[in-house]
Amino acid sequence: MTTAISTSGLHKSFGRTHALDGLDLEVETGEVHGFLGPNGAGKSTTIRVLLGLLRADSGAVQLLGKDPWHDAVELHRRIAYVPGDVTLWRNLSGGEVIDLYGRLRGGLDQDRRTELLERFELDPTKKGRTYSKGNRQKVALVAAFASDVDLLIMDEPTSGLDPLMEEVFRDCVIEERERGRTVLLSSHILSEVEALCDRVSIIRKGRTVESGSLAELRHLTRTSVTAELSGPPNGLSALPGIHGLDIQGKRVKLQVETDKLDAVLRQLGESGVRSLISTPPTLEELFLRHYQDDIRDEAEAVAR
């Protein structure tokens, strides 16, 4: 597998603000890569560097094997970008914008365009401001999915879409992957990321804090276990990797780091297990852990 996007040690500051502080990002060709992080973490800045709209202060960036700043035009022929907030020209119809974007990329598949307009239920004859937020978003999505490109870069592309359209969007992304295209998907909708992405990168304060497949990341987090035992539990508190242990008679609630799960189950088995509920960590929990770190850091900074 080759690399579609690769950045390392990316730095970018605006005046005193360090938007990117040594960001690393690797996206393999043909995968759907989730790009997560709290507001202001630097996701959009990263994307704008990838598009050659901003020039990184330092660090290496490669997109499809090229430099996005110097080879912007050549690269953009093979890229479709969907911003999170689509603004249209007031006197151009949606259909005109879709065609214009297609002409400015590698070209537009007319059959696919017709099909997508139907699936997204988008009226291409309306103009600029008369579209609702969601419909403006659809204009950019149709233009992107109908374009003949290798890489799709999407910055919170589904903001404003209704659940039905969100479903259509997911189908489209899966189709893109089946065609062998690469997708970088920045999103706050974790169910969307969980359903679509092969791998994710989580960034915080302009730095990558976690990167890998969802299975790998889950491995790093805690599984919740609730058990009813036949006798009182013992020795649990001595085990490593256990958090939030709560014993009430024969009922046990705990969280355990996933790689320490085995030892806990064995210990529970010794007391005899009547029932057991084990929940794998959701992406949301994974995510919240990083978000809350953020909040805790800030609280500490204030306390100091």
Binding site: A72, W89, L100, R105, P124, R129
Partner: protein, 551 residues
Amino acid sequence: MTAVADTRVSAPERTGSRDLAGTGTLLRLALRRDRIMIPVWALAIGMTGSSTLSRMKSTYETAADRANVAKDMNTNGALRSMLGVAFDDSYGALTAWRVGTFLAAFAGIMSLLIVIRHTREEEESGRQEALSAGMVGRRAGLTSALLTVAIANAAITLLVVATLAGEGSGGALALGLSIGLTGLVFGGLAAVAAQITENARLARGLAAAAVGVAYLLRMAGDAAKDASEGSSHVLVWLSPIGWAENTRPFAQERWWTLLLLAVLAAASFAVAYVLTGRRDVGASFFASRPGPAAAGKSLQGAYGLAWRLQRGTLLGWVVGVALSAAMLGGVANGAGDIVGDSEKNREIIERMGGAQNIDDAFLAAMISLIGVIVTVHTATAVLRLRAEETDQRAEPLLANAVSRLRWAMSHLVIAYLGPVVILAAGGLGAGIVYAAAADDLGGELPRVLGASLAQIPAVWVVTSVVVLLFGLLPSYTTSLGWAVVGVVVAIGWLGPALDAPQAVLDLSPFSHLPKLPGESVSAAPFVWLLLGSAVLTAAGLWGLRRRDMTN
């Protein structure tokens, strides 16, 4: 349910204080947003009177000088058209004559900008929606905009009155009020324009056209008739700026013309009020029509898009300038009937349009003024780039296979070639009418057309300065760009008449052009201006390629 539905249906249209809820908060917001713009405008307009007065005092030292200048200027239709009618020869009256109508027009431009900015632009951007969802009445937005514009015009009036009261308090008051009330009139007309179109750009264009037409009517009327000996021509009476002129400050003021201005302002406010209460937030009275489902051949790429976005504005300019120039061409013929014999007058004419003959001098001055006005078009065309950038339409466009240079050039082609087309239209308009009246189409038309096209290098210098700002100082492009245009326009309109020092005049690229038609032409100034423009443009584009896109 029924009860709820009933009250909704039968509820009378309430026009009480509820409609105005939140006006105070919105007013403070508007003043906070305009805390720099309004003082700058007010000072620039309000202080011009007193600086003109001191110029007058140093230029025309004796009573005989003053009497001569007033008499000579008034006897010449072309000069009356350009500068207005001098109703008396006191320093105060001469000051009102030189800058009164000019300042009234500028107060109008300031007012229309303020009103559109706080009404239609707020709605178009969607900001008004968020505000209207608060404790904000249906008419609060419009009311706060009109109050803002009233405050700005009141500041101008006070400045004029305070700085000119030494020449006679009645005259100062009349001049101040005529300027301020004219501002309010165009603010009111802008408020109406903001109700009937959804497009802030178009609303601004309509209101600006109203100012232009009013000024042209004043010019045409004054050209046709010397009003110092009686009543003004009927065309002058069709123009609010003509009413302001006819207040005749420092020359037996006619206070009742102020009433005309006040009534028109109040009437336009009322129309805007009625309209704003009857429409939806963000909507207008003309529903947006559906467009084509697919892009046509002309929307081919960056250039097709830029043309699509700018062609309407360009067309408006071409038509407007061609018609105005044709009117001025008609006025110019016969300008040479009487040449003033005052030394001072000859100097002024010479500075404005060259000394060869009065017809040529007048044509040259007019064509130069048209060139100066066309810088507004070229600046608008360049600033469109910045607007696309800040409105976040440039980014997705540049994420396609469009280089920054290509994107910039797509708009700059219009910024550079648009003025050529406009000036050609102006040259043809003035030339055909003037040549037809002079019965020398083959001889005069090429001279006038050539003189008009000769303005191009100076226009391009302004274009390239704005391009330079766009490339190197993106966040200040709009404000500094308009400041540059403002300085060039002010020098062009006021500089020669005010007898400004050559160093100041030289700041404007137009001062370096020969006065055409009439003067002899050498290549040097054209070469320098073209060269300067090319260098500045290149530097701006170089900056654009290196800088970050911002929004």
